[in-house]
Symmetry: C2
Subunit: 443 residues, 2 copies
Amino acid sequence: MNDDSRQVPLRVALLGFGVVGSAVAKVLTEGAEDLAARVGAPLELVGVAVRRAGVDRSASGLPAELFTTDAQSLVENADIVIEVIGGIEPARSLILRAFDHGASVVTANKALLAEDGPTLYAAAEKAGVDIHYEAAVAGAIPLLRPLRESLAGDSVNRVLGIVNGTTNYVLDQMDSTGMGFDEAVERAQQLGYAEADPTADVEGFDAAAKAAILASLSFHSRVALKGVSRTGITEVTSADMRAARAMGCVVKLLAICERTDVGEGEGISVRVHPAMVPVTHPLAGVRGAYNAVFVEASGAGELMFYGPGAGGEPTASAVMGDVVAQARHRVQGGRGPVESAYADLPVLDPGQAQTRYYLSLDVEDRPGVLASVAGLFSEAGLSIEQVRQESIAADEDGQESGHAELVIVTHQGSEASLSATVKAVSSLGVVRGVNSVMRVVGS
Amino acid sequence: MNDDSRQVPLRVALLGFGVVGSAVAKVLTEGAEDLAARVGAPLELVGVAVRRAGVDRSASGLPAELFTTDAQSLVENADIVIEVIGGIEPARSLILRAFDHGASVVTANKALLAEDGPTLYAAAEKAGVDIHYEAAVAGAIPLLRPLRESLAGDSVNRVLGIVNGTTNYVLDQMDSTGMGFDEAVERAQQLGYAEADPTADVEGFDAAAKAAILASLSFHSRVALKGVSRTGITEVTSADMRAARAMGCVVKLLAICERTDVGEGEGISVRVHPAMVPVTHPLAGVRGAYNAVFVEASGAGELMFYGPGAGGEPTASAVMGDVVAQARHRVQGGRGPVESAYADLPVLDPGQAQTRYYLSLDVEDRPGVLASVAGLFSEAGLSIEQVRQESIAADEDGQESGHAELVIVTHQGSEASLSATVKAVSSLGVVRGVNSVMRVVGS
């Protein structure tokens, strides 16, 4: 770094001017002096690519001539391109074009990275530029840099994350007010926590993309979106929430990345599903739309990272951290982190994933039922940890209904043995129905 | 990075073979294959400097010839020097010598950094090498890298940290069992959480050194140890713990770094003291010897980092993260972060620090007392938020003692006005004594 280089501004192009893009532009303009001091050179916003021309954006305080619909030309004339459009195309093409023209890219695009990350990483490396994506997972929470740098000398064994604020808000509402799923989603929509079409969140697609990214970094292996098994929260009921409470648990949608050894060598299990989490676990206390990620590493032990998982300003904070890192590399020399996939661990079949299970069955209230049910668990290789059976009253007079609720919690077992058990139990004459099945995570 | 460079091992020298040093050596040897893949070159442990020769260290599994008492020669022949001796000398001289010979340094030495950090940063920069010190604060928790890199595009306003596991364990014991300070320290010593001489921990020296480092990084300004105002936990009583509980709080030893504006422009307040923290605050739930740091930034909002704050393996995890980062720079080119002190904010006089206060006074139980006391608070400019007065029974028959306990909680006010108030109140005839004064932090 010499005094001359400090004077040459770095050209920054911004793709997208939604909630995150406008927050990024605000930091770039209002924080210009601090950024220049931290980088060693000024950052100059050279253009903002938008979809529609002719919209009045004067409230942003940015000169009208900065806005352009010609994103392609914009990325050809930048040192650093910030991509906050989202989605697969045109984001991917623009990022690849930026690389071709020597720009490094900062993106918050988890869907694209989970879908086609390795193509981008390889293209960046070939072009001798960098791609940064801290904002793609858990918003403002510094998480990817700690995973890939701070823990680079350690061995990560497990990551448990609440990485989708919308679903955490919905589950938290159901838990604290007793409202049902539909009502909680409606409330989240009213408050701006959920989209008009909440599918990507409530079906777990967003969390699955983040899980793929977390697993790739944690285990130095490529994990594609299709390797993530996924169950959303649409089938979580108020009864499940009450059952969790009775177990001393709360229900959370978790992204789980585990390194496991299942006999045929090491592998990775990556999955997203609702789970009962004991109230004593640090993740249980994560309320509202917050995110938190719990990391277990051989040396470091148990770490947790907590903060806002979304929103314009928090996401812009993560984006700008990457921009400063990249800008410092431009000034001082050096490269950002490259893909580390040397371990090349296989992604296990979803049926091999191991966890504990909670099952609630509606059974006939007579002797021998528990023995029959327990026998089927045993045959499928699923070991029972707790059983509770309660007669169900048919009416307000306490008249016997002839039914009982049989609650079973298992030790660790595979998803495959769970499926086999549920199937076998369902066809048992004394079992009238399976009320709910839920995984139990975090001891 | 080319294939040839991958083959040249990086020479790593280890200074110190205590709890942390031996854990570092274990990772370097047992994790050699992973480390080489992550760095792009093997890391070769070329020597371990120890104080005493002739000790049987065969249990470590390291060849006896690696151990040397000649630390000076060792650092002259290394690419990366890991300093885990601690203390000021000979650590400082060895680090400076390492720089002179072109080695970069990874250290966990908070005392040295807080005492003389700028000398080391300048020497490293002059020599064109790096100094990394993630392990110096909050053990295994990735904290300094997030502060200086992830939040480099944001503006940190406040850091509240539980950064000393020993005192957190002691306070947690006092809170959960009702035991007194001395007994809790004894228990911590038995369990290895406290040193035989616990002064550095219980008097807050260790936390103050960490606070100086955190404030320097958070505010891009130099903060020396002497700028940190410090109160330890030796005067925290069981009565204080009970009073905190009654207030819906727990007592924690906090390192507080704040950017404030007190009329004469911006400044930094850095202090370590016990404080009442509401049980609803994320820091309140940090138990035992764990550490946690709560960061408030303009864009990111509220973040928390949680994990083990000490111990051989956790500290080694942080050290090795820095070693891999530095080794990657050696292989790929590039530099580690340099000191960022451009903001050069002044450290405020301790009397200017603003906080809320809890006071418990022993007063005469008669009309007019509250009015007199409240008048003195008002004169000192300290605004009262809550008051509670309770008569104290003299004996088991409930006989009146003539005393009452007057508990006052104030709004934000300066330390100077608190001191003035305490002094004035103490000399009031109707006040028999000041039972306790404690700061209240986190709303």
